[in-house]
């Protein structure tokens, strides 16, 4: 059972890295600024996913703390950027 879990984890990690590459390509080719903002938000979500996968692979819970910090602070950037795009000023 242990071997299956690690195999699934490594496969999922590989898939996530491929998905990050696709997202980066899509952000590079993005039609308008909102697409790039969505891509940036998606990339932060994928880093969270990879952190959780590494936490599972290495069986250490320190990575969950890193993911907690990333999520709690990362989404503020997206909201500030979307407000900046909407109203031309952030506050």
């Amino acid at each position: 059972m242990e071997a299956i879990l690690t195999a699934v984890l490594y496969g999922s990690l590989l898939l996530h890295i491929g998905m990050i590459a696709v997202t980066m390509w899509r952000v590079w080719r993005g039609e308008n600024v909102i697409d790039r903002l969505i891509g940036a938000d998606l990339l932060s979500t994928f880093t969270l996913a990879i952190l959780v996968l590494i936490a599972l692979i290495s069986q250490q819970s320190i990575y969950i703390d890193v993911a907690l910090g990333l999520v709690a602070l990362g989404f503020v950037g997206t909201i500030a950027l979307s407000k900046y795009l909407a109203d031309e000023q952030m506050f």
Partner: protein, 123 residues
Amino acid sequence: MTTFLQIVAIVAVIAGTFFSLVGVVGYVRLPDVYTRLHATGKVGVFGGVLLLAAAVSGTSLSIGKGLVLIALLLIIGPVTSHAIASAAYRVGIPMVGQRNDLQRDGALAGQRLAGEQGQVQDG
């Protein structure tokens, strides 16, 4: 007991990765900004939460932090999608498709860009 938890972890990781895959395919393939937002919202909520469920059942140390993170993700996903969607509509990005409820109700008119191009499709 641990093998059962590991089975749960395996199933959760596979499901989480599947939803992330669906989200990315949606992000690349869908026609306009709003439908793409619909797709990427899934990645953050389903992908992350299922992976965290696997992490909570896999590494038995981080149950509290994992549940806090799951609750946080469930709140943050819709909030960011809504913020980006309203920013997109304010900038005046046209909607591909038949229905434009926001414009028909006149609640939030996309002024700037739409004003210049003047081609926000009607409902």
